[in-house]
Symmetry: C2
Amino acid sequence: MLSERVRDLHGSPVRAMLSVSQQPDVISFAGGLPAADSFADLAYPPPPLDLMQYGPTEGEPALRAKIAEELAELGLDGGAERVLILSGSQQGVDLAAKLFVDRGTGVAVEQPAYLAALQVFRFFGAALQGFDRADPAAGWAGAARPSLAYVTPTFQNPSGHCWSAAERDGLAQACDAAGVALFEDDPYRDLAYEPCERRPVCARLKRASWIYQGSFSKTVAPGLRLGFLTASEDLFPHLVNLKQAADLHTNRLSQWFVLQYLNDPGRAQRLGRLVGRYRRRRDLFAAAMDRHLGGLADWGVPAGGLFFWATLRSGARAADLLARARRRKVLFTPGEHFLISPEAEPASLRLNFSHADEDAADRGLAVLGELLRNRPRRP
Amino acid sequence: MLSERVRDLHGSPVRAMLSVSQQPDVISFAGGLPAADSFADLAYPPPPLDLMQYGPTEGEPALRAKIAEELAELGLDGGAERVLILSGSQQGVDLAAKLFVDRGTGVAVEQPAYLAALQVFRFFGAALQGFDRADPAAGWAGAARPSLAYVTPTFQNPSGHCWSAAERDGLAQACDAAGVALFEDDPYRDLAYEPCERRPVCARLKRASWIYQGSFSKTVAPGLRLGFLTASEDLFPHLVNLKQAADLHTNRLSQWFVLQYLNDPGRAQRLGRLVGRYRRRRDLFAAAMDRHLGGLADWGVPAGGLFFWATLRSGARAADLLARARRRKVLFTPGEHFLISPEAEPASLRLNFSHADEDAADRGLAVLGELLRNRPRRP
């Protein structure tokens, strides 16, 4: 007999689409893939053979020290001793859920929120509750007080939103006042196309427990599956134990590879090129959105990250549009997958702009516009 | 507030010792580390850059196909479509526990059994129950029927035992008859120093659900954190979903590296050298055991794997011996950590013979012998 929790587990809809999107003639706005040509300058010599042995659960000391230096600049100064290397930041979600979530545990999330985090919290039995950025603690009284709040304040997936300083301060104060632990997921912070407030919410906390995690998937390479977390003193030792039980430690090749990248004197220049390329893609994508979806949908231009979040007009439903777009080999992700109540926003969708090149993006958006203009009437 | 399950989670005692064992003058029989010089012939060219992108959750197709070929030779013929690449086989334990274990779920385990598996099953709330190899189903009636049986039939960690064909058939029949799913962990199968029955128990099942997993940590390199599983058709899709929720997919560098190893024409020769070296270490270790622990303890010489399992005589307790041995910078793992009831076998201990070289092993065992002979009387 299988566990109770697995009966609620379904494969990710994005994963199912990703396998379709491998076909060469498909235009996919569905995933969150970096541009395929962005890895060309990542050639490093092979790793030393002493990395073949078992390593420490927490990660390689030199990598932890380097990450700790950079975290200190963000106001997170736990030092190298409080850095845990992860097998990608998806693993951080698994560890945080194991640490906090029993069946029925309240977890507060933005709406919309990263779908693979919702999936994991649900899997462990969380009672998900949305909250209002303008007044996070509004519903946090008595039995409705969540144990954990999960947020991606900087260039959120999927909305692209970047929280203002006031919003960040407000959430920190709410967590401190209510004793709600904060889990801040920050994989997009380096992909900033306009100046934005980016100082972590965790750095603004005075009392609450917290976990802050980052990723190298967006700035180095997702195939390495490398991320990291730091956490308040009370939580960190538990997270190390959970990491050990999950996979002993992160593979040392990826850790070595990312350390080379972090110490590479050309790093800032490389990141600058990447950000410049994505900014151009975003701008071209925004122009193509105007051309093809003007009057058919509403959206904001994101100041960073990898996604446009759009809402269809005139009662059009994203799931219906996707069903028709797939036949034309164009993919995107319906917004319902990012919501606690999928039925709440049937008109929203997420469009990734980093992966498809300019021509493909234009053709794909043209198809969506055409399908929306020639929409079959609902009976 | 932390989850219920995390309140039962403690760091591994072996992990705590491993950090001590990094000191250069310590002789450690505590871990399960491959010989440090066994990686010398593992130099491969750097991986192609297209592996930097996100990959499939299941793993690289070429690696899955190669592993499926070798599994078919063992009688496990699900094909490449039923191979899931893992971030080390510890991850397989996490996924299997997520798939089967709610609070109170019965899980049958050998006694002793791999401590990091016991830790994970306990963490998810399992009610662990021992079973008798000679009659596995003896206690499997009614409410006492477990959902899952976890076994390492080939050169078990820690006992070194290799199950006979009759024992394997008996367990398969018991699982089939009682409808108990079987989880077979097989990381040591290639480290065979004498001829032994090694055909998987899973290949003998007729009806029961099953998971079979293997590892490249013992034959290639543990720092890569690479393992794999195959499973019965009913379980496999769930395991893929769980893998995706845990870390999206295994890093592609390690997958590429292991594929090079598997396709290397010198592979059989390399494995032969490794097995030859470990066989010699085992024999020298056995001779040193005779010299230093003869009359003080009882043990068997393992036909494969990495460990001796010994039982102290005359009421000596392994935990007391370890406390004194640590001051002399000699480490091993007390048997209590491998047991459901730690107090059941206070005299047992596990000694790893693969990591320490001949001289160090001799000196370390001499210290243990001396401490046992000069044992303080209990008040």
